[in-house]
């Protein structure tokens, strides 16, 4: 197989990791919304934890994106 073709395919496969990031982030925000609608008074206190969880979920997805970019351009 041509190296360039293999690069493109590899980058495409690596980018699939972002699907997991999307699911994870949606899960976190969804759970926060459920909790916030049940107990609005306690919701504001957990906003820090919300963004922390978002950062972790995004990070794992973006590692896959970084691998894809490095395969394509590095």
């Amino acid at each position: 197989m041509d190296v360039e073709a293999a690069r493109m395919i590899g980058a495409g496969i690596a980018a699939i990791a972002l699907g997991g990031a999307g699911v994870g982030i949606g899960h976190i925000f969804g759970n926060y919304l459920v909790g916030a609608l049940r107990n609005p008074a306690a919701a504001a206190a957990q906003r820090g934890t919300l963004f922390l969880g978002f950062a972790f979920a995004e990070a794992t997805g973006l590692i896959g994106f970084a691998v894809a970019m490095l395969i394509l351009f590095g």
């Binding site: 922390l52 990070a59 590692i63 970084a66 970019m69």
Partner: protein
Amino acid sequence: MATTAAEAVSGTEAAAAAEGHKVIDPIHQFEIERIIPIRIGDLDLSLTNSGLWALIAVGAVCLLMLTAPTRLIPTRLQSVAESLYELVFGMTQEVLGAQGRGYFPFVFTLFAFILAANLLGLIPGAFTVTSHIIITLALALIVFIGATVIGFIKHGAGYMRLFMPAGVPAPLLPFVVPIEIISYFIRPFSLSIRLFANMMAGHMMLKVIAGFVIMLGVLAGWLPLMALVAIYALELLVAVLQAYVFALLTCLYLNDALHVDH
């Protein structure tokens, strides 16, 4: 519409090919270039664009924190400096407790530098210092090795109690302990790669979508331009958030070192 768009695409691509680079070139912005070449013997100590922007980040933080706080009733800039201080101070108090006050300057320096480097990188044409793994790895190794050394100084060999969490039934221990050890040694890598991947991926995405804007030209270019604005806002959030996450994890690792029994 389709023909003009196709012509616009091929037109810009032909022009770019004539100049010798692609229209969508997201990797070139991360290249390190020497600004002031300095060689001492075999060592290359040149001032690069990375070093220059790191100096600018340090200068910006010093300018903000040293010149803003002057009045009892704060000005707007002073409020910014004070709220940065309070954010990090609250975090160290909450995670490290009373013992942790000595570590506040370190955590604040880390947070302020990463925040400034991330935000300055969003200026169009600027270089993002934290988008290189070597810089984030250096910061993460400082935190990891520092916390490990502090843990051993404070608890001696008892620091290894970190790998045996309380309340684990005996049959599970042979599984839990190796997992704990592995997750401990992954810390510097996860810390550095989280920051580096976020910064690099964000800036690459901005460059790629900006390339789309140019390729689609005046007729349809406003669509990716709207996406570009939205993603730029997201990148602002990510810049602040990643600095906060780095500082918070630093506090958590220091807390593990200071209070081994969680």
